[in-house]
């Protein structure tokens, strides 16, 4: 109990600090041609989330909504309470992970996972808009050479090389149903060995690139997959639950702005595919382009902004 109170207090302090930081920065609080409450756009503390937050914030600004930004808030344990109490009003979430956070059980079915998630967050006064085709989940990745040499394009292809390949991934992979356990049970894949490495980080990437492992566990929208020319094996038996990008906002914002806002954000969300995410992550993580530049260029390229 005491620990819970303390972690909440720490959370509140962090949120307050983030708010102060964003208030000090040039957050471009919109000129607000539309009347209504300011929409505070938040993000998690990783690149993809910052880019998505920037995309939603810029398109809202362009349409004259009053917008402020509170990025890099932290993990879901911090972000969700901030969303529920109105500290932030809009964030790009992930359907499966959010449902998991609400103690639900996500499935590979995007629509079913989304529906269950929508029901789970309704009690907290939260509204999920339409979900994107783009997802970010566990992926099994090989190098282009391995893919060509062994004829690997789908996860099920791995079973034709049972007992010969090495898998590398996070240490918990062998006991996780979405990782090695699932590969064995759903796909009947058996590896020669498993090498415990990091969670889709630089060690796993170096090991895959250097041929120390044949198959790596990475995140499907990881920019490094595109940058290194790796091949993401198709999850053809749908082992992974749906992790579609979905903007989540509050009842108050919907009540204030209604269908116009929903239509605008839904149109943007529909353009966010996994390939687009991957390209954005690559530009951000490997080419070190700023999130606001990336978001602006992406919105222009997809016809949501004029220049």
């Amino acid at each position: 109990m005491r620990r819970q109170i303390r972690s909440r207090a720490v959370g509140a302090i962090l949120v307050a600090l983030a708010l102060i930081a964003s208030a000090c920065g040039d957050d471009g609080s919109g000129d607000g041609t539309k009347e209504g409450p300011t929409i505070t756009v938040g993000s998690f503390n990783f690149g993809e989330s910052v880019i998505l937050g920037e995309i939603y914030a810029q398109v809202l600004e362009a349409e004259g909504y009053p917008v402020s930004r509170t990025f890099n808030l932290g993990n879901r344990e911090l972000v969700y309470p901030a969303l529920a109490d109105g500290t932030i009003d809009l964030i790009a979430e992930y359907t499966g992970s959010l449902l998991n956070h609400m103690h639900g059980t996500p499935t590979p079915d995007s629509q079913a996972t989304y529906d269950a998630m929508v029901a789970a967050i309704a009690d907290d006064g939260l509204v999920a808009l339409a979900y994107a085709p783009g997802e970010d989940k566990n992926g099994f990745v090989v190098t282009a050479e391995t893919s060509a040499a062994l004829g690997l394009t789908k996860v099920s292809d791995l079973a034709t090389h049972n007992g010969t390949l090495t898998l590398g991934g996070p240490a918990e992979c062998p006991i996780r149903p979405l990782c090695l356990l699932g590969l064995q049970q759903t796909y009947g894949v058996e590896f020669e060995s498993f090498r415990p490495l990091d969670s889709a980080g630089p060690i796993t990437v170096a090991a895959l690139e250097g041929g120390e492992i044949d198959v790596a566990v990475l995140y499907t929208s990881d920019g490094v997959i595109a940058a290194k020319g790796f091949v993401l094996l198709e999850d053809d038996r749908n082992l992974q639950p749906a992790e579609n990008i979905v903007p989540v906002t509050t009842d108050e914002i919907i009540a204030a702005y209604g269908d116009d806002l929903v239509a605008l954000l839904d149109a943007v969300t529909a353009a966010i595919t996994t390939a687009e995410l991957s390209a954005l992550n690559k530009s951000y993580g490997i080419d070190a382009t700023d999130a606001d530049t990336l978001a602006h260029d992406w919105l222009v390229a997809n016809g949501f902004l004029s220049d």
Partner: protein, 246 residues
């Protein structure tokens, strides 16, 4: 709490044999630690003794210790990884660039500075009049080093090796992050699986092995020190790091 201790006892009863059992993990842990320490002694000790004998390299000794203290072992391990992967590619007799090799490189880099510094400081700390007397007796430089300076410096040298050995054994746990076995496996895997019993068991094993290493290496060192210098608490026998920074 009682329940946790019970689980812990049960863990030790169940996880001792096989490739993932702690007997094998302890063996892996000792192997990589001993290899790193052995190579570090083989390279640092002769070099430092020679430089100390010639009265050179004080700056190098101080710099080495400071750099060695500042470098995080995990950083070295991650930096060593691409290198060790390429090395394993080029040399067919190295089975893998993951696991043993990057762990070994990081531990070697960890062990090198303190052994070098203690040996250097130990040789430099030998009373100049003693060396002068030996020279007056007609001893060659080589005989002075091996017959006078090294025996007199030996308490400090072995103390350096003992402290380094403890540090290396404790740090070898990090190897689990680059797919090495060893006792770190239980800490890393236990953390990944949120299994506090496994983490605690792993940590206890690392502590026990570190302490045992200190005791064994310390005893071994004392046996190799000339009898007249054993339990000698002259100023020359205080730890080298203090002397170097003086």
């Amino acid at each position: 709490m009682i329940e946790f201790l019970g689980d812990l006892v049960q863990w030790f009863g169940e996880n001792w044999d096989g490739d993932a059992g702690y007997l094998h993990r302890i063996w892996e842990h000792i192997t990589v630690s001993a290899a790193a320490l052995g190579f570090a002694v083989l390279i640092a000790l002769p070099l430092a003794a020679w430089l100390g004998h010639r009265g050179r390299g004080s700056l190098a000794a101080v710099s080495l210790v400071n750099i060695g203290r500042a470098l995080p072992s995990f950083g070295i391990m991650v930096l060593a990884l691409p290198f060790s992967i390429r090395l394993a590619d080029a040399m067919p007799f190295i089975e893998s660039g993951l696991g043993f090799l990057p762990t070994f490189i990081a531990l070697f880099a960890l062990a090198l500075p303190p052994i070098f510094a203690n040996t250097h400081a130990g040789v430099r700390a030998v009373d100049p009049e003693t060396v002068e007397a030996a020279r007056g007796m007609g001893l060659s430089g080589w005989r002075i080093l091996t017959g006078v300076e090294l025996p007199l410096a030996s308490p400090l040298i072995f103390e350096g090796i003992r402290v380094t050995a403890v540090q290396v054994v404790a740090t070898a746990s990090l190897g689990a992050l680059v797919a090495f076995g060893g006792l770190g496996r239980y800490i890393i895997d236990g953390f990944a699986a949120r299994d506090s019993v496994e983490i605690t068991a792993g940590a206890l094993l690392v502590v026990a092995l570190s302490l045992a290493t200190g005791a064994v290496v310390g005893r071994l060192g004392r046996r190799l020190v000339p009898p007249a210098l054993r339990n000698n608490r002259k100023p020359g026998n205080i730890p080298a790091l203090v002397q170097v920074s003086r």
